[in-house]
């Protein structure tokens, strides 16, 4: 989805690149051309894309799990079907994005198996929100409404991304996000207009998810967490806006809706500065953020464990159907 490109991974520099090729490449980027998988690209561009897209992809896969907890439990037939279709889409988005990442890591002799291994060893991180608990049905609604809302903001910002395969995957993904947004809205609308118990459940979920939603967009500047690669993604026209710009866009679009449902936000300092035209809010605990995305969040271990079990328990299937190597 975005940004934790900023954490981990080695710095790559452009110093060793062929200056002529690099200049041609940058001309293409500036002319708005799309770069394809087999085009020459600077190592910094490739590495940035690999980190961004493999994290995005694996976050979709891991993102299926919190909502999946409520899938068999959904309260009506219609909701059961709706949330199943929605979680299925998340897996589908993961598929699209991992395919894009897999083509980028191919020159290193790597493939999906390696990405799965990287997830299990902790080398490949996933989005902070998917480390969180989904305690009640209202959490399934808040994930669909606000977490997906945040995801839509950051993904649509990259719809013109310079990397062709990513941009094409995002077109597909964003088209489906419209369904996700309305699916989430439908769940929370019933809760917001429902019984006292339902409304309380919803407010409780919003309270618990608030810091994670702010964290979603990443820190404002490098100084907050140490390093930042926001500049790299904008330099290569992968995304247009900064973390803070995206967060403000999210607050602009969603806070009026939150308030219109009679819900509150657990931040007494939260207010809109009319003059400067932005939201003032209490910063989330960025140390906590770092802890969460290093797989030390409330449900990190359990969620990775699910993937590990699925990976190990099904190894025999992959072995059974793996075509025999062709010896020449």
């Amino acid at each position: 989805m975005y940004n934790f490109v900023e954490h981990g991974g080695k710095e790559t520099s452009t110093i060793n690149e062929d200056p002529v090729k690099y200049e041609q490449f940058m001309k293409r980027i500036e002319a708005g051309e799309k770069i394809e998988a087999d085009d020459w690209m600077p190592e910094e561009y490739r590495q940035t894309l690999i980190k961004l897209i493999s994290m995005h992809g694996i976050s979709e896969i891991m993102g299926a799990l919190p909502e999946k907890e409520w899938t068999p439990k959904a309260p009506t037939l219609k909701r059961k079907l709706g949330i199943m279709a929605k979680v299925q889409d998340e897996m589908g988005h993961g598929q699209l994005l991992l395919r894009v990442a897999e083509d980028l890591i191919k020159p290193y002799g790597k493939q999906r198996e390696d990405l799965m291994n990287d997830l299990l060893t902790g080398d490949l991180k996933f989005h902070n929100v998917f480390h969180m608990e989904t305690r009640t049905w209202a959490d399934a609604g808040v994930v669909g409404w606000l977490v997906d809302g945040a995801a839509i903001i950051s993904q649509t910002n990259m719809l013109d991304a310079s990397y062709g395969p990513y941009q094409r995957a995002l077109q597909r993904i964003c088209a489906e996000e419209v369904f996700h947004a309305q699916h989430g809205e439908a769940i929370i609308m019933e809760l917001a207009e429902g019984t006292e118990q339902q409304r309380n459940m919803l407010q409780d979920a919003v309270n618990r998810w608030w810091p994670a939603l702010l964290m979603f967009f990443g820190p404002d500047s490098a100084s907050t967490t140490g390093s930042s690669k926001q500049e790299v993604t904008t330099k290569y026209k992968i995304r247009k806006s900064s973390n803070e710009e995206l967060r403000q866009a999210f607050l602009d679009k969603y806070l009026p809706r939150v308030f219109s449902l009679g819900l509150t936000i657990p931040d007494e300092t939260l207010r809109y500065d009319e003059e400067k035209e932005y939201w003032i809010y209490q910063q989330p605990d960025w140390n906590e953020f770092k802890k969460i995305i290093s797989n030390n969040g409330p449900r990190s271990k359990e969620r990775i464990r699910l993937r590990e079990i699925s990976y190990e328990k099904n190894r025999w299937v992959r072995q059974a159907l793996a075509p025999a190597p062709a010896y020449s």
């Binding site: 009506t76 037939l77 079990i309 025999w316």
Partner: protein, 271 residues
Amino acid sequence: MTVIKTADEAKQDRAYLQSLTELLYQLADDDFIISFRGSEWLGLAPHIEEDVSFSSITQNTMGHAVLYYQLLEELGEGEADILAHDRSSEKRRNAVYLEKKNGEGDYIEEPYYDWALTVIRQYLYETFKKVKLEALLQSSYVPLADTAQKVLMEQTYHLAHWKTWVRQLQDSTDEAKSRLQFRIEEAWDEFLDVLELGPEAKEMEKHQLIVSEEELQQQWLADVKDTLTYIPDKPLQKTNGSGRNGEHTEDLTQALNTLNEVYEMDKNAVW
């Protein structure tokens, strides 16, 4: 044969209505419980692409259950959502084999799910479902015959999907073969329940709602023998009881407690 065109007509004949209702509960509950088991798999399948396709099949199958629950609703049995969420274990008519857990563990914690069980169960079930649906095309209850026709439209893909998995795995490594054989042996001890129509079987046949159990079973066995390279040398049984009689296992209790957890919080609330 007397053709019954509407729910109101069906309600005129008590004996007919009873057999029809019984048959519909079996159809609905079978599809519902197996799609519930499918929904537990979501996110855990052998690979991502399969996860996505399997989920479509699961959703379609739950959609089929909804169609049958709606037919029951028309017959005055109550709302589809209540029929799906608010009937106790004894009232459920699904076959016991279909309620069996996907493997050890729970879908949220330590799900040691077995792909061999799923492939075999889905294949055997979809094969039978097709036989049953084709028989239902001739059903005296026209709304049911119409539904069967609709369901068959997309069910063909489901069967083809699982047949591909069975064919490929049974023809691969020794490990895969033995895992499949283990699950086929197990199925032979339990599947008879799926193949039965319960205490109303004779009445169903008499009212020309569906053909006889024997006919269905023969067709199923012939189809299965066409595909499976390993067929156990023992009679089919129902060692865990007869779901058609409302006999069920702890596994169904677990399923019901999960699928109605939110519903039970407030049955009168709108969700």
